[in-house]
């Protein structure tokens, strides 16, 4: 079993014009590690994750570096052609809105198979067989029918399962999830989170998980970074950071997400037990 840094983000800053959006961010993701990033909108967490995925929009200037083990290209600066070779092969992505991540004019089956064929991991025929396995393993009912369906014929949660199937199709080393369950109902959120945890484990991918929901991050991650105004203000194990926050902003985030009226808190835990 190999251990060591899978992803090294070194002094990453992202700016548009003279406005710094991400400021001197450095962190490391070990193999098999699950790292969460929490922060308010505008904290730079989404941009950081786009930089790691090599998806920074044009017009944004990045300095510093993002290195994935075994890839020579710096993901924050590489040419699109080289980045495209890494995305979908070594890095899988699941974003908030599954509808926009899927091509509405292509069947689900073709889209899943496509990612394997494009990276020359499988022949078209082998990819088709694997597609059905993937759709089954991501918990889609009747995978054969699903493979023939178009995105609009699926429910939101089914689409997110398909996006996940595409993300893990090539057995990536890193799975990036940005608010993957925010658009879903609570009763299915838990199942999708469980699926992400289980599938990333199955392909032995490390996880970079972004959410504004502290409870969701705590339920899936081992370690957490807290971002605020483009900087990392606190990091550590999920338990340490969220049960004994040091930075005032982390405390604020915890206070803001705590909706329960204090004297009924024990009852909440009881209900769950």
């Amino acid at each position: 079993m190999t251990t060591g840094a899978l992803l090294t983000v070194d002094h990453l800053s992202i700016a548009v014009g003279s406005t710094e959006l991400v400021n001197d961010v450095s962190f490391v993701i070990e193999r098999d590690e699950r790292l969460g990033i929490i922060g308010a909108s505008g904290s730079g967490k989404t941009l950081t994750c786009l930089a790691v995925a090599g998806l920074l929009p044009d017009g944004l200037k990045a300095t510093g570096s993002v290195h994935l083990d075994g890839v020579h290209t710096d993901l924050a600066h590489g040419a699109e052609r080289q980045l495209a070779r890494v995305r979908g092969l070594r890095i899988g992505t699941v974003f908030q809105e599954p509808m926009t991540a899927l091509n509405p004019t292509m069947t689900i089956g073709r889209q899943v198979a496509e990612v394997m064929v494009r990276h020359r991991m499988k022949t078209r025929k082998a990819a088709r067989a694997t597609t059905l396995e993937l759709l089954t393993s991501t918990g889609l009912p009747d995978p054969e029918r699903m493979a023939r369906s178009y995105p609009h014929q699926l429910s939101g949660v089914q689409r997110q399962r398909v996006v996940l199937a595409i993300a893990i199709a090539n057995g990536p080393d890193l799975l990036i999830c940005d608010e993957p369950t925010t658009a879903l109902d609570v009763t299915v959120q838990a199942r999708v989170l469980e699926l992400i945890a289980q599938q990333s484990r199955a392909v032995r991918a490390a996880l970079l998980f972004i959410s504004h929901d502290l409870a969701v991050v705590a339920s899936i991650c081992d370690r957490v970074l807290v971002m605020w105004q483009g900087r990392i203000v606190e990091q550590g194990s999920v338990i340490d950071v969220l049960s004994d926050p040091q930075h005032p902003h982390t405390r604020q985030l915890l206070a803001d997400s705590d909706l329960s009226v204090p004297d009924t808190l024990p009852a909440t835990v009881e209900d769950l037990g």
Binding site: T19, L21, S41
Partner: protein
């Protein structure tokens, strides 16, 4: 979410700049032609028919009857603008409110309106112009009224689809909760938000009208013999195609340039008015 918001400069898009320049140039030429053209448009230089550029003081040469091409082009720009304004004006002024109506009332009479629209879309504009010319006699105004009427359905369709989208937005729901009546919602919320679509449709229809005028005048159904028109220039000089094709190139170029100019201007204006692109 706001992470990805990127500031946009206030610079003019090249599309808007080029389109605006072309259209402004045509307007300028049309205005100048009222006061001055190198030669009179009815003056025929019988000694120099179909002369090449630069002959006997004719900058672009003369047509088959010896008239100055540059002067005809200048005066023809007036016709081009007139037909555009008449035809597109009819289509936009009638089509836009009907489109909003059809998008807001989506039952009974509106449904009928859409079926009639579909029927009219299938009816060729040039055929309608022929019918109009038969009834009211062939003139530029008749021809352009026909083109205008024939363009109404496309306005209805485009504006209706935009209206349907606007009607589903929460700000229209909010206006209803505020107690706004239908008419006020149409004027205050729907119209401003479908304006971008209307502008694009105007520029597309304008280009179609210019081409239709050229075609109708070429068939002798449009501008009369004394009216300078680019289409008429093509029609009258078609015989020269074999021995002096350059005569036909000038009005052809002028038509192509005007169509290009209005299309670019329309695209540029639409982008300019789109709130999603207005990062100011």
């Amino acid at each position: 979410m706001t992470d990805r918001k990127i500031e946009r400069g206030q610079r003019l898009s090249p599309t808007l700049l080029i389109g605006g320049t072309i259209v402004a140039a045509i307007v300028l030429v049309a205005v100048v032609s009222f006061f001055w053209t190198p030669w009179s448009t009815i003056h025929t230089d019988v000694n120099y028919p179909a002369a090449g550029p630069g002959t006997a003081g004719h900058f672009l040469g003369t047509d088959t009857r010896g008239r100055d091409i540059a002067s005809l082009l200048m005066a023809g720009s007036r016709t081009t603008l007139y037909v555009g304004i008449l035809a597109v004006g009819i289509a936009a002024v009638i089509g836009t409110p009907l489109g909003i109506l059809a998008g807001m009332v989506r039952r009974g009479p509106a449904e009928l309106l859409m079926r009639v629209t579909d029927l009219m879309l299938a009816f060729p504009a040039l055929l309608l112009a022929l019918v109009f010319a038969t009834i009211w006699g062939s003139s530029l105004t008749t021809a352009m009224t026909a083109i205008g009427v024939a363009s109404i359905p496309s306005f209805i369709r485009v504006v209706r689809s935009g209206t349907v989208v606007v009607m589903t937005t929460d700000y229209v729901q909010a206006a209803r909760v505020a107690g706004r009546r239908r008419f006020a919602i149409a004027a205050r919320h729907v119209l401003p938000n479908v304006m971008g679509l209307v502008i694009v449709q105007v520029s597309v229809s304008y280009a179609i009208a210019i081409l239709a005028e050229a075609a109708l005048s070429y068939l002798g159904l449009g501008a009369g013999p004394t009216t300078a028109s680019w289409g008429r220039m093509l029609y009258e000089n078609s015989a020269a195609l074999t021995y002096a094709p350059v005569i036909l190139i000038w009005p052809g170029l002028a038509i192509a340039l005007a169509v290009l100019g209005f299309n670019l201007l329309g695209d540029g204006l639409r982008d300019r008015l789109d709130p999603r692109l207005a990062g100011r």
